[in-house]
Amino acid sequence: MIQYYYLGSIALIAIGMYIVIAKRNLIKIILGLDIMDTGVNLLFISIGYVKNATAPIENVPGPYVDPIPQALVLTAIVIGVSVMALALSIAIGIYKKTGTLELDEILGVKK
């Protein structure tokens, strides 16, 4: 039986994928990427969960949860924020040049 934690984070990944494919607005695409990022982080953390365990800080008696996914996600969150800031500033630069954020108008596609 699949766990609800996995289902929820996979749903976040699928929602982000849908936004990236279906939407044609740069800001929306970047937000979709961020939602996918959140889903992946949640998936990692829930894989490392152990029932009835505490945080891996060894001044309280164990059992502890798996510390490796937490260590990976800790840095991934900050990296995700900075990469999103970079993507958003690229979007702002495109807006200054072309005056629009719609991909179809930037690429000159006629509807």
Partner: protein, 242 residues
């Protein structure tokens, strides 16, 4: 048409991922994980890798917080790479948002409550951020969350005072010193013991502030670096205002 296709694709991805995760156990004890194989000594350990870290981590690194032990000690080189990614992103935002003809935007003054409140809170938020990264090896948190808290204090100042501007020169000085500290601590380890980021200081007693050798030193450097980089990102995205 395209939206329907996208929905179908998203549902397909959902189903494939869900099928892949049906057999992955949730909340299982770590003794059921596959055992850790060491390719250098060509031996299979009698425990899994997280169990290995949790059992020997305290003696190996001196840190109480095992997440910190992994981030700064076992995978310290990896963290150096991640800090570099953050630096590159901050540089990229700075160069993209740089404006040559300084067109000054008009901004309204903010509320008196926000101005007074941010004046009162600024010091406490900085103090809290510093507390988080100084105690990174003992309590939850560390350099990355602490730096983000410090950047949020500066963000509050930007919201309250529209004319406020952090000086990029000073930010780059603190950031460079922090980055240099990380690399120099790693190089000292390379000189003393023959490998990068060797923990050369005495470990001290666990759960004390001065313990875990170089880990607090590196985490303070990471905290200052992340704080000044995120502040620089916020500052560049705000643009020039008057």
């Amino acid at each position: 048409m395209k939206k329907a296709l996208a929905i179908v694709l998203a549902i397909l991805i959902f189903i494939v991922f869900a099928l892949a995760f049906v057999k992955i156990p949730f909340g299982e004890k770590m003794s059921t994980y596959p055992h850790y194989y060491n390719p250098i000594t060509n031996q299979t350990s009698n425990m899994s890798l997280p169990q290995h870290y949790l059992t020997y981590g305290k003696n190996d690194t001196g840190a109480t917080n095992m997440v910190t032990a992994i981030v700064v000690d076992y995978r310290g080189f990896d963290t150096l790479g991640e800090v570099t990614v953050l630096f590159l992103a901050s540089t990229g935002v700075g160069s993209l948002m740089y404006v040559e003809n300084k067109v000054k935007k008009k901004v309204r003054r903010s509320n008196a409550v926000v101005e007074t409140g941010s004046k009162l809170l600024f010091g406490f938020i900085i103090l809290f951020g510093a507390y988080i990264f100084i105690h990174g090896h003992l309590t939850p948190g560390g350099g990355f969350p602490g730096g983000a808290v410090i950047a949020s204090a500066f963000l509050l100042l930007y919201l309250a005072y529209p004319k406020f501007h952090a000086k990029h020169e000073k930010l780059s000085v603190s950031e460079s010193i922090a980055g240099l500290t990380f690399v120099i601590v790693g190089l000292i380890g390379l000189i003393i013991a023959g490998y990068f980021l060797y923990n050369f200081l005495p470990f001290g007693l666990p759960t004390y502030l001065f313990s875990a050798g170089v880990i607090p030193l590196i985490y303070v450097a990471i905290g200052v670096k992340v704080g000044s980089e995120l502040t620089a990102i916020v500052d560049s995205m705000m643009g020039v205002r008057e």
